[in-house]
């Protein structure tokens, strides 16, 4: 059977043609069997060229099209769309990567790169000789979204999706919503407090009937796929019946003998094992921290609503798409990193922010009034020796904004900032300016020579080689040292692992492409929003969460989704049911069929993900993966190997 | 008014006065274009050389020469001995 194949070789504005002799490639493949059209182009992806391709396909009656250009991760879909517009099936298109894997990878060897490119294109031609039009597998998609994490990003996404008429399940691991935003008082870039923001969001959430909030809940199992993720969610009970008597509850808290560090205040204070939401948190309820409860029964004596017979529930939810907004952890400094946990008056910025919230007229830490405050920046980020090479983005502004508030709230405060270059980008520069004008002193160290926090007698000193003062060694005696800690990925990544979400070099969840697909992940149907993706401030988190909502909505808005028809297929003539493929399949997509005396395997196409794990295990070589058949692969190998 | 396709410039000419500067600019460009192309008729030259020959500032030579390259009249050749300036040659 002979085919009519068209090949386009992209110069990519020099990205390819500077290293690969594009015309030579064209010359080498022009005479290949079945190739009826070969063209080079400056930018294959440019609109004009796309139009030209459409015309070419129709005028030359092409069966298949190959574009040799950048990585298929960038433009496979672009050109598939071109072929579809020209009346072909998208599987009659192949994208050969001669940029990332040829011209860029071998720009040190131009003739070698050209040779390599020729082979790659020839292999593509070999593969396309066997290309057949394929129909996508259509699946029904549920108009429901599971939003994981009820911090500001998750709550905002839930509202946006509910406003677009989706069913929303908002799943929060803690007993209260609001995430870290609930812990902050004044917020930069805003006149509002964290409490206001969270309260506003929570009350808006309640207005939507199509939002269900699960607190104390965690996804423990994920089955299914885009269109229908089947999630098992474990919901921890509060061990208190609904609507308890407020007085009794108050008493119950009073009598509870267990005191544990209050994580809401970053362990600056203690709370009981039975505790209420903080004023900044919602929903307004009381819960028993069952992990720390000793079951002494004191609370039960004073409060009728205490109910230890409540059981944790496992519920099953079906969602068409999942939106991750699982947030960040504040970095915990290592033992003795800038004196942390060794020197008593060294605390982190989040702790400091809570301290300010807790101190009214005077700033008191451990019984002493604080006047001179040293802020040490970039703790846990831009580490010269540690793993975190990234800049945490929000911390400079957060620290400066906090220092301004401290000055405004208390008398006789002097702030000293030990920085590595202040990064108050954009309009946030205004805060830096304000703080300078208030008389705050900024010092700066080299990236490789960090300030040192140490103790001399009962004094806590910070010393720095200040590049702003001709690299003099300057020293400050501080009443309190605040470590401006970074954002790090959540320590508990179990949920992300359930969904097999990839992580970047910085260990945050990774998007497909920062600019082209900034909120999507390689796992179909899963979007990411907010600080689980990287450090961001609140406004930026919300931007990304709205963006992710728009994307999530587009997955499910039509009620139907098309999946790639790349699935395994079994030649039943060769098969004699040995169980090997059934064992190998991770998705239970293979079933046994008995036909008279013969048994053989069949593939369930809507479950098969096309991973191919069943392929090599078959002792009879009876399984092939569509578009990756033996013939296709082996003929590609032939072309790649040919001298 | 019925206007013939392919002749519509005549229609606008009647309604619209072409500014003097526009005409001047065209004249000037045509003159410089000719001068540069003439200078490059027989041998390749650098921008510095063209500038000296035509008493044009080097900056202006860059601008006009690059326009001529853009429209395919001139081509860039090799670098000079000092690896500082390119030589330019006329095409056609």
């Amino acid at each position: 059977m002979s085919k009519r194949i068209g090949v386009y070789i992209c110069r990519c504005g020099g990205n390819i043609s500077d290293y690969v002799d594009v015309d030579k490639v064209k010359g080498a493949i022009e005479k290949e069997k079945d190739v009826v059209l070969t063209k080079t182009t400056m930018f294959a992806c440019a609109d004009a060229n796309q139009k030209e391709m459409e015309k070419d396909i129709q005028e030359n009656d092409l069966d298949d099209v190959i574009v040799a250009s950048c990585s298929p991760k960038l433009h496979l879909t672009t050109f598939r769309a071109v072929t579809v517009r020209a009346g072909l099936n998208k599987f009659n298109y192949y994208h050969a990567n001669i940029r990332e894997q040829v011209s860029w990878a071998h720009s040190d060897d131009k003739p070698g790169a050209t040779e390599n490119a020729i082979r790659v294109v020839k292999a593509a031609i070999a593969k396309m000789r066997h290309a057949k039009p394929l129909k996508p597998i259509k699946i029904h998609s549920k108009k429901a979204v599971a939003v994981l994490g009820a911090g500001v990003a998750g709550m905002r996404a839930a509202i946006a999706l509910a406003a677009m008429d989706c069913e929303v399940y908002l799943i929060e691991r803690n007993h209260f919503v609001g995430g870290h935003t609930a812990q902050w008082e004044e917020l930069f870039n805003s006149e509002e407090t964290g409490k206001n923001v969270i309260s506003r969001l929570f009350h808006e959430l309640l207005l939507y009937k199509n939002i269900t909030i699960y607190t104390g809940a965690q996804v423990i199992e994920n089955a299914g796929h885009i269109g229908d993720f089947m999630l098992k969610v474990r919901v921890e009970p509060a061990y208190i019946d609904e609507i308890p008597d407020p007085l009794e509850i108050k008493k119950a808290i009073e009598v509870c003998p267990v005191e544990v560090p209050d994580s809401f205040n970053f362990n600056l204070t203690q709370r009981k094992a039975i505790y209420r939401n903080n004023p900044e948190e919602f929903p307004e309820k009381t819960v028993i921290d069952i992990k720390n409860c000793t079951r002494c029964g004191e609370c039960e004596k004073v409060c009728k609503s205490i109910n230890f017979s409540q059981k944790e529930k496992i519920i099953t939810l079906h969602a068409g798409t999942v939106l991750f907004a699982t947030g960040f952890d504040p970095y915990t400094p290592r033992e003795n990193e800038f004196g942390y946990s060794r020197i008593s008056n060294v605390i982190t910025l989040p702790q400091f922010m809570r301290l300010i919230a807790l101190c009214d007229k005077k700033l008191i830490y451990k019984g002493k009034e604080v006047n001179k405050i040293a802020y040490v920046y970039c703790v846990g980020s831009r580490q010269p020796d540690g793993e975190n090479k990234y800049c945490s983005r929000y911390c400079c502004t957060a620290a400066i904004f906090t220092s301004i508030n401290v000055r405004k709230k208390y008398r006789n405060i002097a702030n000293y900032h030990f920085t590595r270059g202040v990064r108050t980008y954009g309009k946030q520069e205004v805060y830096y300016n304000e703080s300078l004008r208030m008389g705050d002193v900024y010092l700066q160290s080299f990236d490789h020579e960090l300030p040192v926090v140490y103790q001399k007698g009962n004094k806590t000193l910070v010393k720095i080689n200040d590049i702003l003062t001709e690299q003099r060694e300057l020293e400050l005696e501080a009443d309190l040292v605040v470590l401006v800690t970074s954002m790090v990925p959540r320590e508990d990544q179990s949920t992300a692992s359930l969904f097999k979400l990839p992580k970047g070099r910085d260990k945050f969840l990774k998007e497909i492409h920062m600019k082209l697909r900034p909120v999507e992940t390689v796992i179909d149907g899963i979007t990411i929003a907010g600080t689980c993706q990287g450090p961001m401030n609140i406004a930026e988190s919300v931007n990304s969460s709205l963006s992710a909502s728009a994307k999530a909505f587009s997955y499910i808005s039509k009620g139907e989704l098309e999946l790639e028809p790349i699935v395994a297929s079994i030649n039943k003539n060769l098969c004699s049911w040995c169980n090997a493929c059934y064992e190998a399949c991770p998705f239970d997509a293979i079933n046994k069929v008995d036909e008279g005396s013969k048994s053989y395997a069949v593939i369930n196409n809507s479950i098969c993900k096309g991973c191919g794990m069943c392929l090599p295990v078959c002792p009879y070589d009876a399984i092939e993966l569509i578009t990756y058949s033996n013939r296709e692969i082996e003929e590609m190998i032939d072309m790649l190997a040919k001298d | 008014m019925e206007v013939e396709k392919g002749q519509t410039y005549k229609y606008l000419r009647e309604k619209y006065e072409i500014p003097v500067e526009v005409k001047e600019q065209l004249k000037n460009y045509t003159k410089i274009k000719k001068a540069i192309l003439d200078a490059l008729r027989d041998h390749e030259m650098t921008i510095a050389q063209i500038s000296e020959l035509l008493s044009l500032s080097r900056h202006e030579v860059v601008y006009y020469l690059m326009s001529l390259i853009k429209y395919g009249f001139v081509q860039a050749g090799e670098l000079d001995e000092m690896d500082e300036y390119y030589m330019y040659k006329r095409l056609k």
Partner: protein, 432 residues
Amino acid sequence: MQEAKREATFDALVVGGGIAGCEAALNIANNGYTVLLVEKDLSIGGKMILLSKVFPTLDCGACITTPKVSEIARHTNINIFTGSEVKNISLNGKHKFKASVLKNPRYVIEEDCTGCQLCEEACPVNVPDQYQYGMVGRKAAYIPFTIASPRVAAIDIENCTLCGACERVCPTKCIDFTQEKEVWAVSVKTVILATGFHLFDPLRMPRYGFGSYKNVITSMQMERHLAPTRPFHTVLRPGDGKLPDRIAYVLCTGSRDASVGNPICSQICCMYSIKQAQLLMGALPMADVTIYYIDIRAFGKGFNEFYEQAIGMGVNFIKGKIGKITEKENGNLILRYEDVSSGKLQEAEHDLVVLSVGVLPNQDSQIFFSDRSLQEDAHHFIRQPDSLLNPAKTSIEGVFVAGTATGPMDIPDSILSAGAASAEAISYIIQS
């Protein structure tokens, strides 16, 4: 000239066809709603389409912009008006806006033009090319730039001598000097403002000599130098065509500078300068590149790593703002600065200086709303009354904002904000 009147109805009006406007239009259209995209320039794609490569991934700007741009161009739900200006937008009750859009004549029938460039070849005129920031000439009949969308010729009537050469050679007879301005009365349910930003004009800082010293260029000019569709055949000094080998970047030109009235940080200049420095190290392996900075704002995902990569490649970073620039006879430039880390005044000689110009607000959208109901922030960007929870909302209900119209932003942030604006616009349309 006369103005013809026309009418049309869409679900959404997107003002500005830069990357934010495109992204927003695409999101809305993909959910089944109709969009009118109005762009005042001859091509959509904004400033991004003119960039070389983009940080921190170093993808080429064109590779990312063009597929988006061409997807929009083909989208059945999107109508694009290029060379057009929104004149006025008025509110006609909830979910009802009336906009008046002026479509300037291109003097070319868009549908018929094949982009063959024969007219361009025939045109005798040569004027500075605005898309190459004046570094090279273009014709009066021209295609704006290679990857423009639509890739269709236009006549620059202000510089046209009406010689008729273009019309004589046009194979499809698509040049039409009888075209006139059209005013469209457009009814929409929601409006997205994606009017972008202006670059700081360094002529406002005479001590840097931009304009009079020809080897002092702006970062946008350097961006063009490095793009595949560059004005020169390689990176050359505009002053004399010499290959540069000591290139300096002057950061914070027009940003973080109260003396020119712009106290805020432009958020992108550090990173684009570092990116250009990396590209220059590739393009001119012998060249030294020095970046003079106050603070390096490498704050985004992968940015700090990108900055450190530049240090590793040998880019010089010197902390110190350039005070003044003087020109030597050979066109080289003397940069005067204090090397802050040693506390000493220094003078350095460079042969090409790039001014990393900052971001200023585009206040065009102020005039759309004749009743002045669109509020500005202290820096004259569009105000976000609820910047934390509804960052896309403006002071007018139903009018949303995307991208740099609210402040300086890099491309990923612009795209996210466009996503947010489209999410808000979609729910606003759904509720109507």
